[in-house]
Symmetry: C2
Subunit: 341 residues, 2 copies
DNA sequence: TCTGGCACTCGGCGAGGGGGAGTGCCAGGG
DNA sequence: CCCTGGCACTCCCCCTCGCCGAGTGCCAGA
């Protein structure tokens, strides 16, 4: 096992490298941190850390930089999440509370996160499957044309046009609407299929086909929209580290446009709390030199299961404590805003 | 006025520079285009073109590159919009026709445009003010809580929560819903304020406050959402020209995130047809080395006024004929899709 | 008006050469 | 046994220099 001091050396290397963006040498380390030992001793420690794979030298006789494994150890054992200042928290709350609808909440969250962390921000729209139904509305646009509107407790709205196999009376529609709502309002989307399975049977034969059509569109919507949507912002921050990343930025941008990739990344976190995936831990080629810091939000405080995820994407060389703090704080406030609305 | 041959030289310079991304010299020009004259003559023509400000040399004794003014002349007089191939058109139609809702249409359009032009694509959501009302829905979520849902003929849906000053009966709500719809369905959003101005008066005094609240939220929604939304894609294409644009990409990304800037750019085109803004013609600092090619879509075929804009942002050194053709074609097909739904 | 020739100008590129930061190793001391 | 100071060594970075070549402007001649 690594001695206490060697861990301290690793922490110092990570901090300095994140700050200066340059490989850090033994002399500079002893000058900037009072480790109480000489550069020579630090050199020995560094050699040991390198043997263990926590740090590496870009070229012989240059300073050391942390490896992915080194960052992992740093994040797991050496770093505390840095809480935000009171001023920052007030700013977050003010900024988010001005939102008028769900799109606005998500949009503001993205901008906020990007600005706070100076990194690329990603916010997933509240998921349908983990949301509950607030209301189902059916609007008759023509005798055989109905619009289905689905409203979630997180304020998300989905709508679909339905062409009915046969004309449908206003009364029947009202009936269907009432029965549908009485069954599903307040329930989770995942439970809806089970809850409406036998609904068509209770209608007169003439209407049964149409009811069936409506129900199938409803279920289809649930399935389709399980494939979630994302909002991304702050891509300009990628250029902050362009002096040594002129070529890396392209695959990152490409990965960001592939929403599937991002959704998988965000979705991987199962346990609550901030998740950090570092460099090669992201099994996507374009993201091997970036880290993803993400967390669930909108857990409603007690049920525990998050309604969606948000996070940031940045170079592996990032300020983990600060970023984790910002991500966690923003998630908390967004959860509050959604719960209120 | 410039002679025919000098225009031809300018055209050749633009084409070569767009193709090679390198300053083009007199010798290379005569080799790649059969102008029928010697390099020396071309040099004289180039000197003249430079005097007029159509081309410039990056450094003394290097080749020439077109200036913004040169591109402008090229676009206005020398280039024809390049129509797409049949295969491309079929691909567009196939790709767009699979969309399930408005978000999907816009999302697919962005991806399509980005891929087709290999540039950054921008698509504006159909504007509310220029759309017509398909339906207004009022949902009672609690005695004094109502949700307003606004549905446009382009499939866009906006919703707002309303806290009423007093409880509101189901009957009154149904009444309001019916009257509201009978007045505004099929009308343009811009006309709505006038159409509902006196609606509150016809209600009993008890309900008047609530009706007024609902109406004011409705009008507010119209105003707020006049500030339109955008979807952006293909930012990875910015890195295609990173070998000489490592620093320029940042302000471009920043400008793209400032939706206000983009909306103003798109909004500037008044006359129908493809609009091209070249370099410094965009009065925004970050976009002085980019061009914007945009066009309205969803004009409904005959009314003429477009429902929104779409376009691409790329380096001034872009393939204008091809880009203009792609933008125009995509706009046409999106218009069709929206008209059908 | 066009053409070929000629001298000139620079930018790009590769070679060469300090300077400096950092390392590994070793012998000596607490 | 661990830490320390010293020392020789290794490369990377950066600056300079000089060459090469593409491209230009000008001029005299067809």
């Amino acid at each position: 096992m690594l001695s206490e001091r060697r861990l301290e050396v690793l922490r110092a290397i990570v901090q300095d490298y994140v700050g200066t963006e340059e490989p850090v040498g033994s002399k500079a380390l002893t000058e900037r941190h009072h480790l109480g030992v000489s550069p020579a001793t630090v050199r020995n420690d560094m050699a040991a850390l390198e043997d263990e794979g926590f740090i590496a030298q870009p070229h012989t006789s240059a300073g050391r930089i942390p490896t992915d494994k080194g960052y992992r150890l740093f994040v797991d054992k050496l770093a505390d999440v840095k809480p935000l200042s009171g001023a920052e928290r007030r700013a977050i709350q003010n900024f988010l509370s001005g939102a008028v609808d769900l799109d606005d909440v998500v949009g503001r969250t993205v901008r906020l996160l990007a600005q706070l962390t100076r990194q690329v921000a990603v916010v997933q729209y509240p998921s349908l499957t983990r949301s509950t139904v607030r209301h189902v509305e059916l609007l008759q646009l023509a005798p055989a044309r109905v619009m289905l509107v689905l409203i979630t407790d997180t304020g998300r709205v989905e709508q679909r046009m339905i062409d009915c196999p046969a004309p449908f009376s206003e009364d029947s529609l009202a009936d269907l609407r009432a029965r549908l709502n009485s069954r599903v309002v307040g329930r989770r989307f995942g439970d809806v299929p089970r809850l409406v399975a036998d609904l068509a049977e209770s209608f007169p034969a003439d209407d049964r086909g149409t009811v069936q059509t409506v129900l199938s569109v409803l279920l289809e919507t649930l399935v389709e929209e399980t494939e979630e949507r994302l909002m991304i912002g702050g891509t300009a921050n990628l250029t902050r580290f362009d002096h040594d990343f002129p070529l890396t930025i392209r695959p990152v941008l490409e990965a960001l446009e592939e929403q599937v990739v991002l959704l998988r990344l965000l979705g991987e976190a199962k346990e609550p709390g901030v998740m950090v995936r570092i460099g090669h831990e992201n099994d996507h080629e374009g993201l091997t030199s970036t880290s993803v810091v993400s967390v669930g939000y909108g857990s409603g405080g007690d049920t525990g299961e998050a309604v969606a995820k948000l996070g940031v994407v940045g170079p592996t060389r990032m300020d983990y404590p600060g970023t984790m703090g910002a991500v966690r704080a923003v998630a908390r406030y967004v959860g509050q805003i959604l719960a209120e609305s």
